[in-house]
C-alpha cells in the first residue's frame, strides 16, 4: 500500500486549538512539511508572536521562543547574530507586522538580516476578539469598526509586503493564500523558497499568507475562503512581489 498523506515528522501529535476553518493550522503544517523536506528540524529556531499562534510551540516539534508583541524581527536578529548557524524564522500576524512591530521589521529587513518571516494576514485581530487590524479592508466590520472601516477615520489597509519590497535588504517577498488546494501548494512552495533564501545567505525573506478567520469574519469556513478570493486578494494581490535572489526563477 502506498502512503499518500501522513503527519510531518516535525509536527507534534497534538490537536490544534485553532477555530474551525482557521488558516493557522494549515500554515503550521506547511512549515513542518518544508522543515522535514529540507531536513532543518535540528537547526531551526522559530519565533511565534503574541496572537492566536502564540502557542505554535505546542504543535511544531522544533526549538521555539516566544517574542513580545511585534518584536519578532528584533529577537530573530539577536538569535541569528549570536548563532548564525541557526535557521531562524518569525511567525507573525498583521498586528505584529503592520502595527506594533513595523519598526523592528523594516529595520531588520533593511539590515538584510538573514532571517525569514512568515506573515499571516487575516485582516483582523483574532486573539483579542476581532478588532480592526491595519490590514482590515475598507468597509469591513470589526468590533472596533462596528460601522465598517472608514478610511477617513481609520486609514487604509497597510501593505507591508509592498513596503518591504522597497527596502534593499529584502530579497524574496511573495504573497500567497491558504484558501484552496492550489493556493496551499503555492504557499508551501513560497515557504520553501524563503527558507532556501536564508540557507543561501541572501537576506531577508517574507512570505505573506492571506489566511481565513471565519469566526471573527462571522462567516462559514467556505464563505471565508471565497471572501479571500473575492475581496481580500483584490486589496492584497497574490503573487511574487520581489525576488532578487538571482535564482533561476527570480525576477
Amino acid at each position: 500500500m502506498k502512503t499518500v498523506y501522513s503527519r510531518p515528522k516535525s509536527l507534534k501529535m497534538a490537536q490544534f486549538h485553532y477555530c474551525p476553518g482557521c488558516g493557522h493550522s494549515i500554515v503550521h503544517r506547511l512549515i513542518c512539511e518544508v522543515i522535514d523536506e529540507m531536513n532543518l528540524q535540528e537547526k531551526v529556531i522559530g519565533i511565534p508572536p503574541a496572537g492566536c499562534s502564540v502557542f505554535a510551540y505546542h504543535y511544531l516539534d522544533i526549538d521555539m521562543a516566544e517574542s513580545a508583541h511585534g518584536r519578532g524581527a528584533a529577537v530573530a536578529t539577536g538569535i541569528k547574530r549570536a548563532f548564525p548557524e541557526a535557521i531562524v524564522f518569525t511567525y507573525q500576524g498583521d498586528g505584529d507586522m503592520a502595527a506594533i512591530g513595523t519598526a523592528e521589521t523594516i529595520h531588520a529587513a533593511n539590515r538584510g538580516e538573514n532571517i525569514t518571516t512568515i506573515f499571516v494576514n487575516n485582516a483582523v485581530y483574532g486573539m483579542t476578539g476581532g478588532q480592526m487590524a491595519p490590514t482590515t479592508l475598507p468597509g469591513q466590520k470589526t468590533t472596533t469598526t462596528p460601522y465598517g472601516r472608514d478610511s477617513i477615520l481609520e486609514g487604509h489597509p497597510l501593505k507591508i509586503s509592498e513596503m518591504l519590497a522597497l527596502v534593499k535588504g529584502t530579497t524574496y517577498i511573495e504573497r500567497v493564500a491558504v484558501n484552496s488546494p492550489a493556493n496551499i501548494r503555492k504557499t508551501k512552495k513560497a515557504i520553501k523558497k524563503a527558507f532556501q533564501t536564508q540557507i543561501d545567505k541572501l537576506g531577508f525573506s517574507v512570505v505573506e499568507i492571506l489566511s481565513p478567520c471565519p469566526v471573527n469574519w462571522k462567516m462559514s469556513p467556505l464563505e471565508a475562503w471565497r471572501w479571500i478570493d473575492k475581496e481580500m486578494s483584490q486589496e492584497f494581490p497574490l503573487g511574487l512581489i520581489k525576488d532578487t535572489t538571482g535564482r533561476k526563477d527570480a525576477d
Binding site: Q41, E42, K43, V44, I45, A50, V54, F55, Y57, L60, D61, I62, D63, M64, A65, E66, S67, A68, R71, A74, V75, A76, T77, G78, I79, K80, R81, A82, F83, A86, A103, E104, I106, H107, R111
Partner: protein, 356 residues
C-alpha cells in the same frame, strides 16, 4: 595589566568584553554614547561577536533577549528615557529566566529631563521596572574601577541566577575618567549556556515562553522566581561601610552620591563629629541586614540621594522603626559638593543633640 585612564562608559564596555560578552545591541543616548561607540570599535570585529546599532531601545533589548535565548552573553546600555523603553524586554527576560546585563547611566528626569547625572531611576531599577512580579539585581558602582569590576560580576550573576542584572550608574560616572585596572583577560572561548535554545539536535525540541493559560503554572513560575530572589538576597547582597563602628550618625548613600558623602564625612570627622557611611553596592537586594545591625548601636540616619527621596524608603523599611531617618536630596541633575553635604551633616548632628 597596568592602569589606564578611561571614562566609565568605556570601562564598562571593556570589562564586558573581558567577561565574554559577545553581543552588544544599543541605541545612542547621552550620557552613555561612549559605551556604544566603544563596542562598535572593539566588539564588532571580534570573532563570533556582534554589534548592532538598533533602531530603538525596544529593539535593542529584544535583540539581547534573542542572543540570550541561544546562550550567548549579551548586553545593552542606555539612560533614563531609553531604559523606560527597555522595560518590556526586561520583564520578558525575567519571565523567561534569561540572563542579560543592562546598563543605565542615569540622567535627570522625568521626561526628557537633562543629560546631567542623577539618581532618580532608583525606584524603576529596584522595583523590577516593567510589568509583573519580578526583580533585577541592581549594582551601583561609585568609581570607574568599580564599574569595571561590577560589570564582570554582573555577567557572572546573570548567568548564575538566570536573571537580568542592571548596572545603575549616572552621567558623571559614565563621562568621568579615572585610572582603572582590568583584572580579567577576555576568555579564548566565550561561555555558551548549555541549556540554551540552539536547535533540537540530539535532544527533544523545547520552547521558551512566558505566556500561559494555566494559573497554577504561572503561580509556580512566580514562586520559583521568588525563591531565587530570596537566595539572591541571602547570597549576593553587598555593601561598604566607612567609619561606621563608633558613629552616632550614619549617612546612607549610593553611587556617586556615596563618594561625595565620603568626602563630607572626612571633613566632619576632622571636626570631631562621629559620622559614618553605609554604601549599598547592590541596591537590590538592599542591605537590610546591615542596616538592622547598625540600628543596634546607631539611632540617627541621613539618607543622601541625587533625587527627592527614593532609597530612603528602603532604609526606613529596613530599620522597622528602630532609627530616626532624615533626608537630603538634590534632584534634577544637580551635583552637590562634599562641603555642602558636610554642612548638612553638621547641622543635623547638632540639631539631634549628638554633639553632647
Amino acid at each position: 595589566m597596568t592602569k589606564v585612564l578611561m571614562n566609565g562608559s568605556s570601562a564598562i564596555a571593556e570589562a564586558a568584553i573581558r567577561a565574554g560578552c559577545q553581543c552588544y545591541f544599543g541605541y545612542p543616548i547621552t550620557p552613555q554614547n561612549e559605551l556604544t561607540e566603544y563596542m562598535a570599535t572593539n566588539l564588532s570585529r571580534r570573532k563570533g561577536c556582534s554589534f548592532v546599532q538598533a533602531e530603538s531601545e525596544i529593539s535593542a533589548i529584544n535583540m539581547v533577549y534573542g542572543a540570550s535565548l541561544v546562550g550567548v552573553r549579551a548586553m545593552t546600555s542606555s539612560s533614563g528615557p531609553g531604559i523606560s523603553l527597555k522595560q518590556e524586554g526586561i520583564s520578558f527576560l525575567a519571565a523567561c529566566e534569561l540572563p542579560a546585563v543592562i546598563v543605565n547611566m542615569s540622567r535627570g528626569g522625568p521626561g526628557m529631563g537633562s543629560i546631567a547625572a542623577a539618581q532618580s531611576d532608583y525606584f524603576q531599577a529596584t522595583r523590577g521596572g516593567g510589568h509583573g512580579d519580578y526583580r533585577t539585581i541592581v549594582m551601583a558602582p561609585s568609581s570607574v574601577q568599580e564599574l569595571a569590576d561590577l560589570t564582570h560580576r554582573a555577567f557572572h550573576l546573570a548567568d548564575k541566577y538566570k536573571t537580568p542584572v542592571m548596572i545603575l550608574g549616572d552621567g558623571i560616572l559614565g563621562q568621568m575618567m579615572e585610572p582603572v585596572k582590568f583584572k580579567h583577560e577576555a576568555p579564548a572561548e566565550p561561555p555558551i549556556r548549555h541549556d540554551a535554545l540552539r536547535g533540537a539536535k540530539g535532544r527533544r525540541s523545547k520552547f521558551i515562553k512566558s505566556l500561559t493559560s494555566n494559573d497554577t503554572e504561572l503561580e509556580e513560575l512566580n514562586w520559583s522566581l521568588f525563591r531565587r530572589y530570596e537566595l539572591i538576597k541571602k547570597k549576593e547582597t553587598t555593601y561598604e561601610t566607612f567609619l561606621a563602628d563608633d558613629a552616632e550618625l550614619v549617612v546612607v548613600a549610593f553611587g556617586i552620591a556615596a563618594r561625595i558623602a565620603k568626602g563630607a564625612i572626612k571633613t566632619v570627622r576632622s571636626e570631631g563629629l562621629k559620622v559614618g557611611l553605609l554604601r549599598p553596592v547592590t541596591l537590590w537586594p538592599f542591605p537590610a541586614e546591615a542596616v538592622q545591625e547598625l540600628a543596634k548601636k546607631v539611632k540617627h540616619y541621613l539618607v543622601f540621594e541625587m533625587n527627592m527621596g527614593q532609597m530612603i524608603e528602603d532604609v526606613q523599611l529596613s530599620l522597622e522603626g528602630k532609627g530616626e531617618v532624615s533626608f537630603y536630596g538634590r534632584p534634577g541633575g544637580v551635583i552637590p559638593t562634599p562641603s555642602e553635604v558636610a554642612r548638612v551633616i553638621s547641622r543635623l548632628y547638632y540639631q539631634k543633640g549628638l554633639s553632647k
